[in-house]
Symmetry: C2
Subunit: 406 residues, 2 copies
């Protein structure tokens, strides 16, 4: 299982990142922190490259279970299980942005090659610091401020105008940890909901965007970058619902979005696939909403639609290998998320009908149980044009039902 | 791990194949007999469909190891380990054509859904009976005869003209178990080499073909078939070296090859992906060389080049699901096998250089050791035309060296 890894300290660098060389003939071993669907799809991309995958997750029945050489059951927020995971591996990477940055720093102190690094993760996972880095790099973001009490929030609303977005600085995802404060009268309620337990909060100017865009950027350890097509993301209840690739926006907007995304990932010294979410205003202006330091839901379409997927490129990046092309292999692609309708088993009804839809690719995540709103899988369809891809993806997606009442 | 499967006997059928229905919500479990690269690629195609994969192989460090929920170490030629493998699974399928047909029949007697079935495997795995089935279906094959002594072989050579192909009736692959008998004087030597230990032999007319073609056909449990593009296969030392898709043959030849392949798979009542190898003569005439009752080296290109690969369609077929499209997503594709140059570790030299070749897709099989001539991986490249695909695939393949002397 363990690969033979020779580690050397990076010459003169301030960061403790190790330079490593695999001794002849041992298969590289990639350790994934997290065992959900992103880990599963990373593993499915790593294995064909001859990479052995090990992972850590808090329970055994998780999506990565059937596609990894070893699954360590443990708390990935603690240094000790992380160090156990990292023993003898070629590199460690992350499935989510919530892993404790101090625990990650501990890995680097022990010369474990970790990508993206702890410093990058520390900046990204605090929404205030993330926006500070973006702003310092001259990148457009909504106006924002850390807020420590309801009075400050009310003052900002007065200054910017209502509504104001109130967000937890940490651990928010899919709209969880967000609150749209529509008027001064709602401040108390919003503070109660999000600020409970003394959680640190961020206030942000509300952006009346025309549409949401996203760009996947994969950055290698050598700083070289590959940029995927700019896509449009359609949210439903704050969860990514549909991704349309490429986005139907003017070329100039797509070019600007791609350039902003690249500069954002560079600003964090990111290594691997990063998802950059942007708002497009009615006048075509762009602001960066946020950045995910990992493979991202808006890039799932790349499995079938691009020459080298976000997952394969992430594996290549964190192992220090050359990146593959992000070019699309079809004129259009649409991805639709499959969310649980309610509690139930992880296997959907309607699979055979979905597989009968021409051109639709079904991805099920192998979760043990469905729950309302839980991401259970996705469908991607390619098409000769955006409409054809959308129709195909929709036809297949609506057949697949998880945990629906009888 | 075990799925809940409800089995019912097929109404009135002579074969003991079970009709099965997965009870609500359990993930289907597919059992693979064999754990090599074909099992690995089947597993990589099964997992995204939410299928759990279990496998049996004779040792633990095999290509399927990292991509299966359970690897049973045992002899797949014995009914007992096979029955253990099959316990609670949704269906059993095969990675190779050498599994003892009596052991497989035992599975069916125990109501295990096995695809392809034991009767099909029994006919295919004996080269004489395989050709008898093809001939009985009116399909063109080289002239052939079972031979039990050297005198009979010499007589056939006199009748057909030399050379004559002498082949073991069973367990031959990649040219192993074949002998080209060039003249009557070589009969004794050929008989000594292949007939040792009383192995049953087949004599076959030598076909001076212009090129070798292959067609993958996937046949569902309902008899519906999907036919992949006709490809040209280039052998080196009797091992598949290059596959060019589609084959550069006249449309009429491709149509005839596809029709012959479909009729061949039907003649055996095959279920799943089958590889049909054909010889094309100088005048465009076609004869069927042989049929492999499984996913096949000539179909590896379908992973990137076709909408639904031979592996995904095999999984769909044996689970009784609708088949996906075999349409190519690019004008041309070339696959090149990566063979071991000698003894050594399973990890190649040159991986980073190969990954840097635009448009090349690298597949490593994760074998523990390289040996001369052993299949260690393959490269597929798509292209706007056959020449571009070939150049890309060659550039990447020549970088990857397994077990070469320093």
């Amino acid at each position: 299982m363990a690969s033979r890894v020779v580690r050397k300290k990076a010459g003169g660098g301030a960061t403790p990142q190790a330079v490593l060389r695999i001794t002849d003939g041992a298969a590289p071993v990639l350790a994934l922190v997290g065992g959900g669907q992103l880990a599963r799809m990373l593993a499915l991309a790593a294995v064909p490259l001859g990479v052995q995958v090990v992972a850590i997750e808090r329970s055994r029945e998780v999506p990565v279970a059937g596609v990894s050489s070893r699954l360590l059951v443990g708390d990935w927020n603690q240094p000790k299980p992380l160090l156990e995971l990292a023993r003898g591996v070629t590199a460690v990477t992350l499935e989510n942005e919530f892993v404790d940055a101090d625990a990650l720093a501990e890995l680097e102190l022990q010369q474990v090659p970790l990508f993206p690094g702890a410093a990058c993760m520390r900046l990204v996972q605090d929404k205030v610091r993330q926006r500070e880095v973006l702003a310092a790099a001259g990148l457009p973001t909504p106006r924002f401020a850390g807020v420590t009490d309801a009075v400050a929030l009310e003052r900002l609303g007065g200054q910017w105008g209502w509504p104001v977005m109130l967000k937890r600085r940490r651990n928010g995802y899919d709209g969880k940890g967000n609150y749209t404060v529509r008027a001064a009268a709602e401040v108390g309620r919003a503070w109660e909901v999000l600020g409970a337990g003394g959680a640190a909060l961020l206030a942000e100017e509300f952006c009346p965007f025309k549409c949401e865009l996203a760009v996947m950027v994969c950055r290698g350890r050598d700083g070289k970058m590959v940029t995927y097509p700019v896509v449009e993301t359609v949210q439903r209840d704050h969860i990514c619902h549909i991704v349309k690739a490429p986005a139907a926006v003017p070329q100039a907007v797509a070019r600007r979005a791609a350039a902003l995304a690249r500069r954002a990932v560079e600003a964090f010294g990111g290594v691997g696939s990063f998802g950059v979410e942007l708002f497009m205003m009615a006048d075509g202006a762009l602001v960066i909403n946020e950045l995910a330091p990992r493979v991202h839901n808006s890039g799932h379409y790349t499995i079938e639609a691009c020459e080298c997927s976000q997952f394969e490129n992430h594996v290549r990046a964190v192992l220090g290998w050359p990146l593959g092309s992000s070019a699309m292999v079809a004129p259009a692609a649409v991805m639709i998320n499959l969310l649980g309708a309610g509690d139930g088993p992880g296997q959907p009804a309607g699979l055979e009908r979905a597989l009968a839809v021409p051109g639709a690719h079904v991805h099920l995540y192998g979760k043990a149980r469905s729950a309302a709103g839980r991401k259970m899988g996705h469908v991607t369809a390619l098409g000769a044009n955006p409409q054809q891809a959308l129709v195909r993806a929709r036809r297949a997606a609506r057949e697949l039902v998880f945990g629906a009442p009888k």
